[in-house]
């Protein structure tokens, strides 16, 4: 699409009208958008066409339609966080990552639905109602960046910006067959984004391929796209798989699809060795004791004044955080440091760690449990199981599609890289993507 826009073969106006028409046709059944910015998108498209015709092409995102999770400020429109709690006044300014995408020429099509305040993995608890999976309307697309994922998966837009505090980019990316990138912690600014757990929050792109994720990540980092990027890291083609714990509890279809993907990698001259992460079984309790009190601190005054305005599930989990003792939060910080070193050690001299992104296929809406190995497990627990560690440690992690279950539901493969080496992780991801193609 970028080449066609640059050459003038297709106008940005036509691209945007196609996106708006597709939203009009599809979104009533999917509920991916909380707000479609028809007028401003059309104005931006006209401006982009004028610029491009005048020879001022900004790069491969110029004229590309994107959506923004409705947790992230876009100037002039409200940031609802999919909640009745927020005051609906328009944001005074773009979040920095949004401003950078505008500078790169991207066209903002609209704001996307999410799990209320990003505090959930299904998108079901939303003041706007649940977002539905594009392949099965009775299923969740995963969350919390549910609408972002569906807007891309249903080809309403080319890319979206989501957030990830425990897996909220990677979970819906895996469930919907997309690429979802959580960069290194702190690499992209979270200013202008409603916080959930400030030491765990990340912002990043959801796209249909790794190359697009790289473009979005680069632009969001404020780096010019005109010079080209990527593909410069020499790879050893050695991956480490932290089998203990991370492959212990998987849906049979997810396991089979992931293992087949590993076989395809082996067939394409990758090596995959077992590389355990020490203390991995402490992941859930460490992450719980980090996130709950941080989220409670963010929401304390709103809970006191407007508790009833939250969805019930989100309210109760936020209230739970108010009971975590300071000494246990401190213990969790110690656990974070231990686990961070453990992930560093597991990476060793591998290009990346490889593991599934999501332990189950897209879950059915309205279900709290699923069955794995004949036992019921919590949907919330199992959807966070494979992703949340890397929010605590800050390592960059990306989910890429690696196939589908027998019933056609997408399965994601997660790659985890060294901290502050997100660009190198994308090089690995692009090479893995090519091997799986």
């Amino acid at each position: 699409m970028a080449a066609a826009i640059e050459s003038g073969e297709v106008s940005v106006r036509d691209v945007v009208e196609t996106a708006l028409h597709r939203i009009e046709t599809l979104d009533a059944g999917l509920n991916a958008f909380t707000l479609v910015m028809h007028d401003s998108a059309r104005l931006a498209a006209a401006h982009a066409d004028t610029e491009i015709a005048a020879g001022r092409y900004r790069g491969p995102l110029h004229g590309i339609p994107i959506s923004i999770k409705d947790l992230i400020d876009v100037a002039g429109v409200p940031t609802t966080a999919a909640s009745q709690v927020t005051d609906r006044s328009p944001a005074g300014a773009d979040a920095p990552v949004v401003a950078r995408l505008r500078d790169a020429g991207a066209i903002l099509i609209g704001k996307c639905n999410l799990h209320e305040f990003a505090f959930g993995t299904t998108g079901e608890d939303s003041a706007f109602g649940p977002t539905r999976h594009p392949l099965d309307a009775d299923r969740s697309p995963g969350g919390s960046s549910s609408g972002s994922a569906v807007s891309v998966a249903a080809r309403m837009v080319t890319a979206s910006v989501g957030t990830d505090t425990g897996g909220s980019i990677r979970i819906p990316a895996a469930a919907c067959g997309l690429v979802g990138l959580k960069p290194t912690f702190g690499e992209l600014p979270c200013d202008g984004i409603v916080p959930l757990g400030p030491s765990l929050d990340h912002v990043g792109p959801l796209t249909r391929c790794v190359a697009d994720a790289r473009l979005m990540f680069t632009a969001m980092g404020g780096v010019s796209l005109s010079a080209g990027s990527g593909g410069t890291t020499p790879l050893t083609r050695r991956l480490g798989c932290p089998r203990p714990y991370f492959l212990d509890q998987l849906d049979d279809g997810v396991r089979a699809t992931f293992e087949r993907a590993l076989e395809r990698l082996l067939d394409d001259a990758w090596t995959v060795s077992t590389s355990p992460i020490r203390h991995a079984r402490d992941t859930a309790t460490v992450c719980l004791h980090l996130l709950l009190p941080e989220a409670a601190a963010v929401h304390a005054s709103s809970l006191d004044r407007q508790g009833a305005a939250y969805t019930q599930g989100v309210r109760l989990r936020l209230e739970m955080g108010r009971y975590v003792l300071a000494e246990d939060y401190v213990r969790a910080q110690r656990g974070r440091a231990v686990l961070t070193q453990a992930v560093d050690d597991a990476l060793g001299d591998h290009d990346a760690l490889v593991l599934p992104s999501l332990a189950i296929p897209a879950p059915r809406l309205g279900t709290d449990t699923v069955e794995i190995d004949g036992r019921p497990v919590s949907v919330r627990n199992v959807t966070l199981r494979l992703t949340q560690l890397f929010n605590a440690t800050g390592h960059p992690a990306v989910s890429i599609p690696c196939g589908a279950t027998a019933s056609g539901l997408p399965v994601g493969l997660q790659l985890v890289g060294r901290r502050s080496h997100t660009a190198q992780l994308l090089d690995v991801a692009q090479a893995v993507e090519q091997s799986l193609a």
Partner: protein, 62 residues
């Protein structure tokens, strides 16, 4: 504060605040906190409790 004392106090407070639906979540949180406190990597001025690696992971997700 011991885990049992914490749970008793938390449940009493949840009742006082008319949030009875919190009680099962607090019980799950108490189990998770016990696990956190038992982790072998905890720092301690005295001896450190052993970590039972075979405990089922029923930590409530966030």
């Amino acid at each position: 504060m011991t885990g049992d004392d914490w749970l008793d106090a938390a449940k009493a407070d949840a009742q006082r605040r008319q949030l009875p639906a919190l009680e099962p979540l607090l019980e799950a949180l108490a189990r998770a906190t016990r696990r956190l406190r038992a982790a072998e990597w905890n720092l301690s001025a005295a001896s450190r409790p052993a970590h039972d690696a075979d405990q089922p992971d029923d930590t409530p997700a966030t």
